[in-house]
Amino acid sequence: MPESAADMVRPQVALQVMTDLNRTETALLAELESLGRMVAAAKEEIAAMRVENVDATHLPAATDELDEVVRSTADAANEILDVCETLENLQPKLDSEAADTVATCVTRIYEACAFQDITGQRIGKVVNALKQIEQRVRETTGRYARSSALPARHAPARTEGERLANGPQPTAAASSQAEIDALLASFD
């Protein structure tokens, strides 16, 4: 039975498709090989990095320093509060006008001393960030330098209160008391 024109063309098309595929595969393989070389080089570079000082000394020292800042400001704030309480105890011995002035001044000092809470929380956020970096550095260097299996990290389940506990916002992003009052009023 004579072959149709279509039957004669089919093998040629198949050959062309195979040739095109081989070209694509060859290009892909070359890309993969190149990527593999880059990954191997990166691994060697990471393994050769001297990060021991970062995760063993620099980062812990930085967090210790920040903890010390929090302690020092707390001590200072408490010292100021001691003095305020002494002044308040003097009020009954003062005349009315002087007592009122002392009360007003002491109240302003109390309000100002709240800085220690805010700065403490901000510094706490920085300390947590440093600890995260320390952990990542340790994991990365451990993975490439010693090829030891790292334990999987399981984030503990968090409550809504914990998820939303982000500490003080940057001043530009923080809501004012007036904005919060307006938001609460909008629910009534």
Binding site: E88, Y110, A114, I118, A165, Q169, S176
Partner: protein
């Protein structure tokens, strides 16, 4: 406003507890107890007889929001006025606190006038 009411203040910063206690003293609230996290506060609330809670949000092991939820879920405690004093000023925080039943919300840093105003408001509705 009953100045003899027992007030529980909750904050993990001792300095802040001291500041709030002193400001409350200026407002003639002298029956003030302290707790440094939500768990301790809940124990004190269940053991005592408090008429007002003033709590921070960001504490471990129990946050102020989780404390608020526990208080509102407790038949004996659920009607206690609860003021959140916190640096958490995002809208989502205020909305979550409102949904959990907060009586009022003060953002840190705050002044004595704001504290007095919010206490008067929540005690008027108590």
């Amino acid at each position: 406003m009953d100045k003899n009411t027992n007030v529980l203040i909750v904050d993990d910063y001792k300095t802040m507890l001291r500041i709030i206690r002193n400001l409350l003293k200026q407002l003639d609230f002298n029956n003030v107890e302290e707790a440094t996290d939500g768990q301790e506060a809940l124990s004190k609330l269940r053991a005592g007889n408090f008429g007002l809670v003033i709590s921070d949000w960001n504490m471990e092991p129990m946050t102020g929001l989780d404390l608020l939820k526990e208080v509102r879920a407790d038949a004996r405690l659920k009607s206690i006025p609860f003021i959140m004093i916190t640096a958490e000023s995002k809208t989502e925080n205020v909305v979550a606190a409102r949904a959990a039943g907060v009586s009022n919300y003060i953002v840190k840093p705050f002044n004595a006038e704001t504290l007095r105003d919010k206490i008067e408001k929540v005690m008027a509705h108590a």
